[in-house]
Symmetry: D2
Subunit: 461 residues, 4 copies
């Protein structure tokens, strides 16, 4: 049902006797960031061990998978496929043998100059077996004139543009790097071991640390290159940028509410956006009804701020399996009903504010409003705790085509009519950023206002 | 994590060109009532067609499964196995060829005189291939001296004691029956067909009707035998009882919050119990925190009644697959953490009321309280929106052994210490029933007070 | 490709510390007797433990399946489904709780009075959950007026007519029984245990003993009831018959060539029939070519007797998986070609005798002859090492409908033309029996000559 | 049980409306050449479509797999993994985007200078994602200074040494190439289409053509580069060698008996080797007994030449599934018995010649001889229709380590004692080649005599 989809989540661990299992848990907790393929590469200082597959973490990894994932360090990845073909050859982490030894990379984000780099690399004789940016990175490192891996990597990090939160495994190091604008999150933590020591963990979201009993410490800074090995840790600044570009959609929808991203509680940001939503366009109603689960925190904020009672007027069924056989066409709005069930006894004859986190295509919103009306609601006011999505993302998010983004095709009043609401309100970009206490200088909201923080190359569009 | 488990859900449909698919959806919506096996038997007035299997509805039924489920009527069943062996031979509906023709039965509930009946039947030469009560029913009908199926059935319905909500398929009829005390729910609805006609649907819970676009009409009355065939519908009263015995745990935990059972909204009953919980033992705190998802409605009621702000201080992860590989023992409380993640930024230094729906073994409660404390809560007050479970159910619910029911072994103060709460409060049976507007004359609360509405035979214990 | 299919194989073991695993191997070796479902029921003198499923033995049983199959005795079964619906409810062994305790039965064969017995039993109030004869047996035992299980069983064995080779498990016994005419095979052996003791094993075919390292001892005699328990073994004769009725098709096709059935080597019988085939109708040719694998022993016999060189002119591909996607219709005779590949360099310009074991529908024979001709053979003489199949079997074999049996519809010369052979020869019933050294008094050849050794009831046809 | 394993089989088709399905069948027929992974890449002149997986052809490809394999040309591959890790990243065909466009390659054979090439390529900045030679080929083509794909390919074909039978797919061509010594087979055929046209097919073995109804035409010549496109076919000789090096083990064991390889019938070669085996060391006995299935043709030859009767004294069970649960240790020689069952009634008190195709480790031979003796054979003469394997293969065959090759560790008499035979005879390299009518100039028999036809580099050993 979601309109935008995060493309990846990464995880890495150093110095843990159960490195592969810890990575598995770290990916499991980040399953929401990518559900089409996943993989782990571990290392015992001699060799790399790999297990990758198409599907969910819990399906790809079995007890026996861990029997061959030796070693005390590991990196892992979950991903969506960006385009049609869900090739296993695109599943990450990607490993390769370079002249400086073997290396494995897991990447969250998208490079904006990937097509150019790819084209240049092919001209010089590089071969591309898949279609992801990570292969580009490997080639760049391989072709760097530097003789040392770290020097090559530093070199490459200054040549790539766009969004990249990387974890890298070499025979004797775990490395993390984040682009100078900090598009995607990347956090560091520590896990106490039974023997008194501790292991280093890196993840896209802090919720991965909670599951494994690790302590969140800080973000990997934009432009930071962090190298972890036997001698300890070293941090370099490989690039700087006045302008930061944290993805505001991480707060709105992508990240789990129990995560800290960009040093803020996702749950709290959502509540604050819900409060701002009321303050910007106060609507009086009998009930505030969230679209579960993603609209719940904003609806709580809306209810608190407005004093209008919060009611679970739409119940979500969590017993939904992965496969579902489509019934006859005679059952209308089935796709929505299998998940969401409005409650007539609450909605009947009531004036309700329905709160959702975002508005992308508008198709689901339309069906929800219809179901709510059929359940007897007198007035349905649809309130979105973010601006309407209007433009494509080039930084690691799978956006529908522009034509499918309802707000790029229609004005507010048209949308309201289209989705069938009595009123439609949403947050402006300014109010949204104000609500989370930030300025435009630090965040990317290009999917709302087309103000892209980097150059966008023609090849990419 | 649940301590008590509903054992079954049933569904039936008459006169629907897509009878098997509608039944599939009816079972899908009632998956929470039984996740170990499921089955459908359809009928085209000539023959029965069957598909059963171990596992979830979405896994057992594939597109091809429906190619052989012909006919315009069908019954279906989801079930838990009550005891160790999860035999497919116990999967329902059960069908048999009797002298009056073929019959299939799906049953929710448990008979209290099943062991006696079974013993008698075996003496007369009946053979039992499984261990469920339904086979008992089939034998009783088969051995009835009456020559007509309906007469035999009526006869049998007066001989069985305990809880039974039945749907029955014969070549030309769909039949529903519910025990005179009405232990388990059973509801009737109607679904408009595209051709202008309508089909009759019967289910354990009304949420099944919402998914298939059917209208809820009423409960099958306690003691009612409803016969649906080409000539229309006929209703008989095969038994009456002053004392009714609706299972109060259907309101507390078993049923989906978006269902109507016993003519009441489950969601509303849970809110009312949450309100009563505060009124019976008012506790002042900074936040009301639900144990998600089951504790959310009661927590909302608690918060509304008390004026204490409601906060999602514990976030539930809904991306949990069915299989999970256990990590090292070094990760404590892992079983709880994979589902529930407390939020430090909310809980830190706060006095919180944690609301859950029920208290059965106490093990999960203990872990939750521990996690909440580790997240910095200053005081943790554990409030249960029902009485503590003390005794076994003989009416179709899988209860842990008495020794595992914490309230049958410990006094309130001991429990509080055991689970590590600063205070422990719960509803009395009286307040609970008062909250939902009912008297003890109508409800069964035997799992709380051991006041069993029927005779309990020695063989059963 | 086979026209007739054996319906079942049975196995039993007494006093073996690995009873379930030994039974698994016994079924594995008899997989050719039934590939649609299989099951094992073991017993530890207290309880029965069951594992059954649809599919091959190697797929239904996993390492973990054996963790719950306790006990030192067990019985097992492999089966084909006789009719359309491949219900798991028909999978054997079948177990039931009777007044004399629990019992489990595995059955090879078909009763000719099953329909009558079934009808009578239903009138007396028995319920039938499946459609197999074994359920009939259980009901008859349950309804026997005798109070002792063995007395009831003896009673019942005299009431059932037709083919039955049974193994039965009770809490403290393993029982074997075979109908007085001895239609289906049933053999006894002994397996030395590591501790110096020995276990008793019973199987349909002796090849099961070879795999588990057991020694073949003898057949269970027609009319014998063998009871094995702690006190040793007891053998009763519950019925006698002058006329015996060993199924000659066990020699021709059903049994594995490395088995002893009816005290004869199957491989040797096939060779002898091949010799007789030449002697009855000597044909001179360049090569004797078997249709592999089933025609190989007869072709060896034919070659030895005639002196014509034996050549593998048709090679069988053994790498055939279970599922196969059908290619375009443009590939002719594909179903045969995926298994059989004629060798042009051998067949080209040669006069060949092609030897197969039996002729049922004629469709495969037609395709084989066509392929052999396309490979350049000058003359193709088709020789069948048995008489052509003309009539249905009522004793435990799945025969195609009469209309599909080519020899019931056409005369020899018509068949020859239809299948496209230059000549068609086969064994007469008399020569066949003479070849294996037997008289019609001992064997059933009703599928060839319609001389049924028992009464055939109208209901059955 | 086999000691040596072929590592790959390839297939290609041009101009077939069902290119992917035909390739599927071509792989299916060549399943014996590689059972660990398989894949198909098809092309519609625009794009490549890929489906690969671990496992058997029949399991990896489902009906739906073909829905996305568009186009009229395709190449396919089956493979064994040579070393421990069965990575999907090594599954072929391998595709890559080069500056001259996309290309996909499937490769049978091993390059002897792969390690050197790999090392050089890595130094120049190439990255290796897998461990197979094919990736090497792709890099060499990519780095060739030539601007045209064909020119680059020709260039590369002269730089690689060792065994390679290649099929290559580009957007508008299918290409085949075979090393100048012709180590591995590669054959060309034609398939008539329904529309009157024809498609071009290329395979490792001619048995692939039989299944799809194509006509075998000729071998791709050693040193030939064949290019097929819209304009027809062009053949180049990219290299020549006086010395040819056809793998004699293709005749002995690898290829299917119904294939033509190196322009000879495999079945016939095996019979000729069986004849020569008798002539070189005539042994008189009661029976010639083949070890089925691989020893059957040689045993037929032995029997024909010697006049000693051929008997199936060991029966092979073909109902063996892929998974098998190991029984207790008390069942001796189980691994052999599950497949092979000696027949006591034939072997008892007889002097037998047991014929097998080859002798590698000796472990299976030892068990077979033991089983034959236990079945009563008086004398067991073990005759191998090839020389004993002594040395590693570097040309695409998975050989056990030298220490495990019994003939590299023991003299003939020691081996005889070790395997427990009364006599052990085998073919000399000379007699073997003479039997098949060839000189050492044309064949590679290095696994027997260590006379490697190419340089073997130190890195490789």
């Amino acid at each position: 049902m979601a309109g935008l989809r995060e493309e990846c989540g990464v995880f890495a661990v150093w110095n843990d006797p159960e490195a592969a299992k810890i990575t598995y848990l770290g990916l499991y907790a980040q399953q929401h960031r990518g559900q089409e393929s996943c993989g782990i590469i571990s290392c015992d200082e001699e060799k790399f061990y790999e297990h990758k597959g198409l599907g969910l973490v819990g399906d790809v990894f079995k007890e026996e998978s861990f029997k061959k994932l030796y070693g005390h360090s590991a990196i892992g990845h979950v991903r969506y496929s960006t385009t049609g073909q869900n090739h296993l050859s695109n599943a990450q982490p990607l490993q390769a043998l370079l002249k400086t030894g073997p290396v494995a990379i897991a990447h969250n984000g998208n490079l904006v100059n990937a097509a150019q780099l790819r084209h240049q690399l092919i001209q010089t004789g590089a071969i591309f077996q898949g279609s992801n940016d990570t292969e580009c990175l490997l080639h760049l490192i391989a072709q760097s004139p530097k003789h040392d891996f770290l020097e090559s990597l530093k070199d490459v990090l200054t040549k790539i543009e766009g969004a990249f939160s990387l974890v890298i495994q070499t025979k004797d190091k775990i490395i993390a790097a984040r682009d100078p604008m900090g598009f995607r999150p990347l956090v560091i933590g520590q896990r106490k071991l039974d023997d008194g020591g501790s292991s280093r963990v890196i993840a896209s979201e802090s919720c991965a640390f909670d599951l494994i009993g690790a302590q969140y410490e800080r973000e990997v800074s934009p432009g930071e290159l962090l190298i972890i090995d036997k001698n300890g840790e070293e941090s370099f600044e490989f690039g700087t940028s006045e302008r930061k570009a944290h993805c505001v959609f991480e707060h709105i929808y992508f990240s789990r509410p129990d995560s800290y991203v960009f040093s803020k509680s996702v749950y709290m940001m959502r509540k604050l956006m819900g409060q701002a939503l009321y303050n910007e366009n106060p609507i009086e109603a009998d009930y505030v009804i969230p679209v579960p689960d993603s609209g719940v925190p904003a609806a709580l904020g809306y209810s608190e701020e407005s004093g209008i009672p919060f009611e679970l007027g739409i119940i979500r069924n969590h017993y939904i399996g992965r496969t579902f056989i489509l019934p006859s066409q005679s059952i209308r709005s089935f796709g929505v009903k299998i998940k969401l069930n409005p409650q007539r006894h609450i909605l009947k004859d009531k004036k309700v504010v329905v709160v959702d986190d975002s508005l992308v295509r508008g198709t689901t919103s339309q069906k929800i409003i219809q179901l709510v009306r059929q359940s007897g609601a007198k007035e349905v006011h649809f309130c979105i705790a973010s601006p309407p999505t209007k433009a494509s993302c080039y930084y690691g998010v799978d956006t529908p085509r522009r034509k499918q983004l309802i707000a790029s095709e229609m004005e507010q009043e048209e949308i309201r009519k289209h989705i069938g609401a009595d009123s439609l309100t949403y947050l402006s970009v300014e109010s949204m950023l104000k609500a989370i206490g930030e300025s435009k200088q630090n965040y990317c909201a290009a999917c709302f206002d087309e103000d892209y923080p980097t150059k966008i190359y023609d090849l990419q569009k």
